[in-house]
């Protein structure tokens, strides 16, 4: 079995950049998943957590957590955003492994992500903590 990157990557390891541009179809799927009578009108903007989720999917793939039958728990999440994001707006996400340890046989990893627009300006950040159950280093 291939050793997942989470077992070998050291703190400071960089991920991406990932293109996390969200097209209309995915924004519509988000509205279907989340929406209801109480939902705010986003107009042509997006909920920033959707951009975070798109980056997280790429990170989990790169960390090797979609393969090999590993059981992963999303334990914690931080998000901050400095301005609204438009549907279809070009955004890149760059991740950095901020912590990576094994405790009692479980793997704990935290990945920080910076989101940049087409000008290179940071418009948001996130930090995700993941636990991989029973994963030996």
């Amino acid at each position: 079995m291939t050793v997942p990157l989470i077992s070998t990557a050291t703190v400071g390891h960089e991920f991406g950049p990932y293109d996390v541009t969200i097209p209309t179809e995915r924004a519509n799927a988000y509205a279907k998943a989340v929406g209801g009578a109480e939902s705010p009108d986003y107009g042509d903007s997006l909920a920033p957590t959707m951009v975070v989720a798109a980056a997280l999917t790429e990170l989990i793939e790169d960390l090797g957590l979609f393969s090999g039958g590993l059981q992963t728990i999303h334990a914690g999440q931080e998000v901050s955003w400095t301005r609204p994001v438009k549907i279809g707006e070009k955004l890149d996400a760059i991740g950095r492994l901020a912590a990576n340890s094994v405790r009692r046989g479980n793997h704990f990893a935290t990945v920080s992500v910076s989101y940049k627009d087409s000008t290179g300006s940071e418009i948001g950040t996130s930090s995700t903590t993941i636990i991989v159950i029973g994963e030996e280093s």
């Binding site: 799927a29 998943a33 109480e38 999917t57 931080e78």
Partner: protein
């Protein structure tokens, strides 16, 4: 339309809402996020995991919490809002969750009036699926 939140004060309760997390919603969230992990989508696979069945994406539950914040603070949540949460319990398709929030403090930072809120969503048995804190400008 702008919303004046300058009158808000500590102790104000945010308007939560209920949502049933159906498998259709989980499937749609997989399309939206690109996260097609079988633990969310494939019952046969999910039955072999510690949960014994499919679970919703944690980010889907968090998305509901941010819907509440975007409704309460439509002019400012996406423009300087911050949150920090933990995912305390899995949500299984078919379960109903209720979002909640309360302003616990008001402060001034860099000339802006900032509200600090406890936030989260609970399952019908009262356990938190998501819990944490958010900060948002009031105007």
């Amino acid at each position: 339309m702008t919303t004046n939140n300058s009158h808000r004060s500590a102790g104000d309760v945010l308007t939560g809402f209920e949502r049933q997390i159906t498998q259709d919603r989980v499937d749609a969230y997989a399309e939206a996020s690109g996260d097609h992990n079988p633990i969310h989508l494939n019952e046969e696979y999910a039955s072999t995991t510690q949960f014994g069945t499919r679970i919703a994406h944690g980010m889907l539950s968090l998305a509901l919490v941010t819907e509440m914040l975007a409704s309460e603070f439509p002019d400012t949540w996406h423009d300087g809002g911050k949150l920090k949460v933990r995912f305390s319990a899995p949500v299984f398709p078919g379960e109903i969750v209720t979002t909640y929030g309360e302003i616990t403090g008001i402060s001034e930072e860099d000339g802006q009036i900032i509200a600090t809120c406890t936030i989260g969503c609970k399952k019908t048995d009262g356990t938190d699926a998501v819990s944490g804190r958010a900060t948002v400008a009031l105007e």
